[in-house]
């Protein structure tokens, strides 16, 4: 199993039409590729999580565009895209190690049999250790 620590960009957006467009357009114009994203919303505002090919550059251009953002350390786990893999290889080891998952999102790559799971956890070192042990 492939375990990586990645830097994710988290950005604050008001929850109204056009704001996500504004944010992603900033990335597109800087030629930054978006690998995966998710949105957590609290009715009148939200936080957008962005997994991009160049996080440091993304942070700069988003700030220049007048938005508030920061880097969040997350874990990426690559597991087989098959039933039970997420439960057995990721969730059980983390639960046993008493690691709490704050949020998670995933993306699949159609040409391979892989699923990429992004995890934001409360204790990152402990999580990596637990995942490695399996």
């Amino acid at each position: 199993m492939d375990i990586k620590q990645l830097q994710q960009v988290s950005a604050f957006l008001e929850n109204r039409p056009g704001r996500l467009l504004y944010l992603l357009n900033v990335l597109a114009e800087a030629n930054i590729n978006l690998i995966a994203h998710n949105i957590v919303d609290a009715s009148d505002f939200g936080i957008v999580h962005l997994l991009v090919d160049r996080p440091k550059r993304a942070l700069e251009v988003i700030r220049d565009a007048g938005l508030t953002c920061s880097i969040t350390n997350v874990i990426e786990v690559v597991i087989p895209n098959e039933p039970g893999a997420f439960v057995e290889q990721v969730l059980k080891p983390l639960a046993n190690a008493h690691v709490n998952i704050e949020y998670s999102y995933a993306y699949g790559v159609p040409s391979s049999n892989e699923a990429h799971i992004i995890l934001k956890v409360d204790r990152i070192e402990r999580a990596v250790e637990a995942l490695k042990k399996g």
């Binding site: 988290s10 604050f12 957006l13 008001e14 704001r19 957590v40 919303d41 609290a42 009148d44 505002f45 939200g46 936080i47 999580h49 007048g66 938005l67 508030t68 953002c69 920061s70 969040t72 704050e102 934001k120």
Partner: protein
């Protein structure tokens, strides 16, 4: 009806002589009882005996709201604590409230002047008066309560809120007089209509309104929707609370109880007194207050005075409906709100820079909505929705505790405030409370 014919219809020359005598006594009371005034007299080489008549009024120093804050809580009181029988408080410009106090004698004056205002609006001892202004530290509820009792009316002390019960009691108790803020009068009419109750069919006949500015169109709306005759009244806790002035049946200005409250209009910039008829800041010197003998209190309210006799028979000068403020004070649901209070709350919340906008509107019916927009800078941002929500509710709680009213806090993107309305614009009041016709555009 005139409650105190002798005082309210006194020839002006006699009234002025009385005011002069009372002023001389009051200046001595302030000088002897309040260290702040002794200091200010010394600073300008003034002694109490220099004040011999009304003409010497302009020699006296001004008093401002900030003086309450600097002498919090009891530094402005001129009597020993044991003589105080009541304390009230209103909001200050920062965290600490503006504290006012009354002796037994002050309470007698208070109920007298409130009874006068009620009588001028046609209230008699046969009326049932429902008081829907807040009881408690706010002077509105208890001030009118004592005045209405003094008049001999039947008092229903409901206080503010619980609109459905208010409507029920109006019907069941045959209430004839309704005391509330003008915006609450409209709100209750809306609620009654929703409940299928026609307030015009009840015994209600008079509305006593105050505590916030209102327009002529609101007056007409109250008149038609509640089927009552609405009266404007004016007062402020620093001076006494309700009872400073009120309209008579001619609705042509608010008669000031000048035998208790000496008024001037000044140019707020030059601080020079202005002649009758000119618009400026209202300055009041209470002539009979024992606990809190303020000298030349700057109300911040813009109005003008008319000393001509009124067809109602009163010789007491009339002030025009308040048409603005000299400062940035807002009145939201009858509560005075200074933007500086909100700013100090934001500063207390760790990391929050004072990049904010205060938005007041009446989108939901007639009641005021207060929104505070706070920019999310990197100092307060965290990739944690729970943290941001917590911040939002923490600010809401702090505002409620400081101001006593609910504000909706909205977290917004940085620079959105400057971009849409220019940096200096901190307050957007979309209500047009003074009827100037100016309604600023929405910040969006």
């Amino acid at each position: 009806m005139i409650w105190n014919r002798e005082r309210e219809t006194m020839p002006r020359s006699e009234l002025e002589a009385l005011q002069g005598e009372l002023l001389v006594r009051q200046v001595r009371r302030a000088y002897e009882g309040v260290p702040l005034y002794r200091q200010r007299f010394r600073d300008r080489g003034l002694r109490p005996e220099h004040i011999k008549s009304l003409a010497d009024l302009r020699l006296l120093p001004f008093t401002r709201k900030a003086d309450f804050r600097d002498n919090y809580p009891f530094g402005l009181l001129a009597v020993p604590r044991q003589e105080i029988v009541r304390i009230h408080a209103s909001s200050g410009t920062t965290g600490k409230p503006t504290v006012v106090a009354y002796t037994r004698g002050d309470m007698e004056v208070w109920k007298e002047v409130c009874a006068r205002n009620l009588a001028a609006a046609g209230v008699t001892d046969e009326d049932t008066v429902q008081i829907s202004m807040g009881y408690g530290l706010f002077t509105g509820g208890l001030g009118w309560h004592y005045g209405a009792e003094h008049l001999g009316a039947t008092v229903v002390p409901v206080s503010a809120g619980n609109t459905k019960r208010q409507i029920m009691l109006i019907q069941d108790f045959d209430v004839t007089v309704f005391v509330c803020t003008p915006s609450y009068a409209i709100y209750i009419a809306e609620q009654a209509e929703e409940m299928g109750v026609d307030l015009r069919q009840t015994k209600l006949r008079i509305g006593i309104h105050g505590a916030e500015p209102w327009t002529e169109s609101m007056r007409r709306e109250i008149q038609t929707r509640l089927g009552i005759d609405p009266y404007d009244t004016y007062g402020l806790s620093e001076i006494i609370g309700p009872g400073v002035s009120g309209e008579c049946a001619y609705h042509s200005g608010l008669h000031i109880n000048e035998d208790h409250f000496l008024v001037e209009i000044i140019d707020p910039q030059t601080e020079e007194p202005l002649p009758y008829g000119e618009k400026g800041e209202l300055v009041i010197t209470p002539l009979t207050k024992e606990a809190l003998p303020l000298l030349r209190y700057r109300t911040g309210d813009i109005t003008r005075l008319n000393p001509e006799p009124c067809p109602c028979g009163r010789t007491l000068a009339r002030m025009e409906k308040v048409s603005g403020r000299t400062d940035d004070m807002l009145i939201v649901r009858g509560v005075n709100v200074f933007p500086s209070q909100i700013e100090s709350v934001l500063l207390q919340v760790e990391g929050v820079q004072p990049h904010y906008v205060i938005l007041v509107d009446r989108t939901h019916g007639a009641m005021d909505d207060l929104e505070v927009w706070v920019e999310v800078s990197e100092a307060i941002f965290a990739d944690d929705i729970g943290h941001l929500r917590g911040l939002q509710s923490q600010i809401e709680t702090e505002i409620r505790e400081t101001l006593g009213i609910h504000a909706r806090v909205k977290l917004v993107e940085p620079h959105s405030i400057e971009r849409s309305m220019g940096k200096a614009k901190r307050v957007i009041d979309k209500r047009d409370v003074y009827g100037t016709g100016e309604r600023p555009a929405s910040p969006e």
